[in-house]
């Protein structure tokens, strides 16, 4: 099934994705052209079309409570509720070279300050022309209409955390900065935004990073860094099963004794968003060594891995991990990989069911899935990479 693999990347050769296009009916929010004074949640959106000349600008809350509009971890309800919510966000667009981040002009440094702000911030934006329909994407959360903007002004002073100031003026590598901030409790969402507007990394090599890429980059960087930290921990001593479901995405997560390995089975049930006609099952895996090739399951893979790694780091253990993600027809529009990140994170925060064996845990998980166990179980790998510490003192 091509669509479930491609997720809107036009591998079929069409100019537009027919699955994404069907949301074109969504009504355009009426925005007056000219100066508007509205808050940003804070957030920004960097496009990827035309890279390295991309459209960059703030997200502006036209109505609704601004910070809630950009706080996926708080969202509840169904797919329609999230779409409604996000349609209140206007995406400001101005064409920029990504390299401008090495030496930001006034427009970009205003966006950077606004994005790093800890709370919503009023912006005065010169809207030139409302130009585009809403944005839907498998990685990024939906965004309402887009408007070309001339410029913007911060109408109040943003409050920016000291640690952000520090890494901004430091010349440390992006990987180190991201890890440092994450370890000091900055959320992946916040990190993704400031990474995207080019605030991290060695000054002379800073770039704007398209929102879509920045989300997966943050998940991947943090995942690989945490893997290094937990590599020497001992294994969990029992088999645990965690479960959670939201927005038509059902997760079953099994941690079992053994060396670190991560396996993700992604099941797109017939009539779910990327797979209208048949049920599609995809699979990817890794061991403790760095995952080199980009996952065939794209951004969702890295989004599912990170919360499990966070959990392992917290309990100071490694485990063989199996994540089963079943996507159901209720997921009729793509909402972005936060659905996976938050789904898995909420599962890990729940109470684990304990089992004597992997077999029993799989049986329990299978009972809650709609897909025949035979169909997904064949993908699971029965062996995994060990480490030298198991055999001798390293």
């Amino acid at each position: 099934m091509l669509c479930a693999r491609c997720k809107g990347n036009l591998l079929c050769g069409r100019i537009k994705c027919p699955l994404l296009e069907k949301f074109g009916y969504l009504k355009k929010v009426e925005i007056e052209e000219g100066n508007i004074e509205k808050p940003t949640p804070p957030s920004a959106f960097i496009g990827r079309i035309g890279y390295p000349k991309v459209y960059a600008g703030p997200l502006i809350a036209v109505n609704g409570e601004p910070s809630f509009l950009d706080s996926p971890w708080l969202w509840k309800g169904d797919v329609g509720d999230v779409i409604k919510l996000r349609m209140s966000l206007l995406r400001g667009m101005k064409r920029m070279e990504v390299y401008v981040a090495a030496n930001p002009d006034r427009y970009l440094s205003d966006i950077q300050e606004a994005t790093a702000s800890v709370k919503p911030l009023d912006l005065e934006t010169e809207v030139e022309k409302v130009i585009k329909r809403p944005v839907f994407d498998d990685t990024v959360q939906p965004v309402g209409v887009s408007a070309r903007i001339q410029g913007l002004k911060l109408t109040e002073n943003p409050k920016i955390p000291d640690r952000i100031e520090k890494v901004y003026y430091d010349d440390s590598r992006a990987v180190d900065a991201v890890k440092f901030l994450f370890d000091h409790s900055f959320s992946t969402y916040y990190l993704q935004k400031i990474f995207s507007v080019g605030m991290l990394g060695e000054t002379k090599s800073r770039k704007l990073v398209p929102t879509r890429w920045s989300i997966t980059a943050i998940h991947d960087i943090l995942g690989e860094e945490i893997k290094k930290e937990i590599a020497c921990f001992e294994s969990v001593d029992k088999t645990m099963l965690f479960s959670f479901e939201h927005f038509g995405n059902h997760f079953e997560i099994i941690l079992s004794p053994g060396n670190y390995s991560f396996q993700l089975v992604e099941i797109w049930l017939k009539k779910s968003f990327w797979s209208p006609d048949t049920t599609w099952i995809g699979y990817d895996r890794e061991d403790i060594s760095r995952k080199r090739e980009y996952s065939v399951l794209s951004g969702g893979y890295y989004a599912a891995r990170l919360p499990v790694l966070e959990h392992l780091r917290k309990i100071r253990r490694v485990a063989s991990i199996i994540v089963l993600r079943e996507i159901r027809p209720e997921y009729y529009a793509p909402l972005g990989v936060w659905v996976v990140e938050e789904g898995v994170r909420k599962a890990m925060q729940g109470k684990a069911e304990i089992f004597e064996s992997l077999e029993e845990a799989l049986t329990r998980a299978a009972n809650r899935l709609r897909t025949d166990r035979m169909k997904w179980e064949i993908h699971l790998r029965q062996h995994h990479q060990s480490n030298l510490g198991r055999f001798f003192e390293v």
Partner: protein, 245 residues
């Protein structure tokens, strides 16, 4: 003060061997050998490198010394050394290593050795099977296996040494009998390994280089390559893949 002159190929082989697993390493200039060893961040594999004093044209070590090296940098530099050309390594102070060849001289900043992960102990492994073969043959087998699977089985019994890989629909068996192997003790052993690591390791050796394998049962394997005309020894110890409990 240290002054050592060696064939460029040796420096290339040694740094290439290290970059397969780490980007920084400690190098020991000992009285009788240049030595380095490290474990990759995932603790899956170890590399041990030795270049005996005899392999150098000149090897003057006033005092034994440990230096921290960005191996990626040195490997990059060594790639531009012509075949057969000599390279001189000079250490006059704690902070810089000079690398001279042809008409160029690089001054490479050294890293404080205490900032590099502590070196592993070299384990004493009891591995029943010993297999000696041409590294070029091994390389061919791993390249073939890589096309269909991410893991391979090494197996030995009295009929010879086998490398086996199984894909979704096809399978590959590489077999060398006692007569085809350079040395073989016909012992029984079997373990499974990740192709991703083996692929990196085999880059250090070419046809004509000798590879000695010590194999056990679901146990780490030792792969010892004699490289650069036998002037340097590169050993990898790789943890196996094992069945889920």
């Amino acid at each position: 003060m240290i002054d050592a002159i060696v064939e460029g190929d040796v420096l290339k082989a040694v740094t290439k061997a290290m970059v397969a697993l780490v980007s920084e390493a400690r190098f020991h200039f000992k009285d009788d050998t240049l030595h380095s060893r490290a474990v990759d961040p995932a603790n899956v594999a170890m590399v041990i490198v030795n270049v005996p004093r005899d392999s150098f044209e000149v090897y003057k070590v006033d005092e034994e010394k440990i230096v921290g090296v960005d191996v990626n940098r040195i490997y990059d530099i060594s790639k531009s050394i012509k075949k057969g050309e000599l390279v001189e390594l000079i250490l006059e102070n704690e902070t810089t290593l000079k690398v001279k060849f042809g008409s160029v001289e690089y001054s490479v900043a050294l890293i404080d050795p205490s900032a590099i992960r502590k070196e592993p102990k070299i384990p004493n492994l009891e591995l029943p099977a010993k297999i000696v073969l041409d590294a070029g043959e091994f390389r061919k087998a791993i390249s073939a296996a890589d096309k269909i699977s991410d893991h391979v089985i090494f197996r030995s019994d009295e009929t010879g040494f086998y490398i086996e890989a199984e894909g979704d629909v096809d399978r590959i068996t590489f077999h060398m009998s006692d007569a085809e192997l350079i040395e073989f003790n016909r012992a029984e052993a079997k373990s499974m390994f990740s192709v991703e690591y083996l692929k990196e390791f085999m880059k250090v050796a070419g046809t004509g280089d000798i590879l000695t394998i010590y194999l056990g049962n679901n146990y780490p394997v030792r792969l010892i390559f004699d490289v650069a005309d036998g002037k340097a020894k590169v050993e990898y110890i790789l943890a196996p893949r094992i069945e889920a409990e």
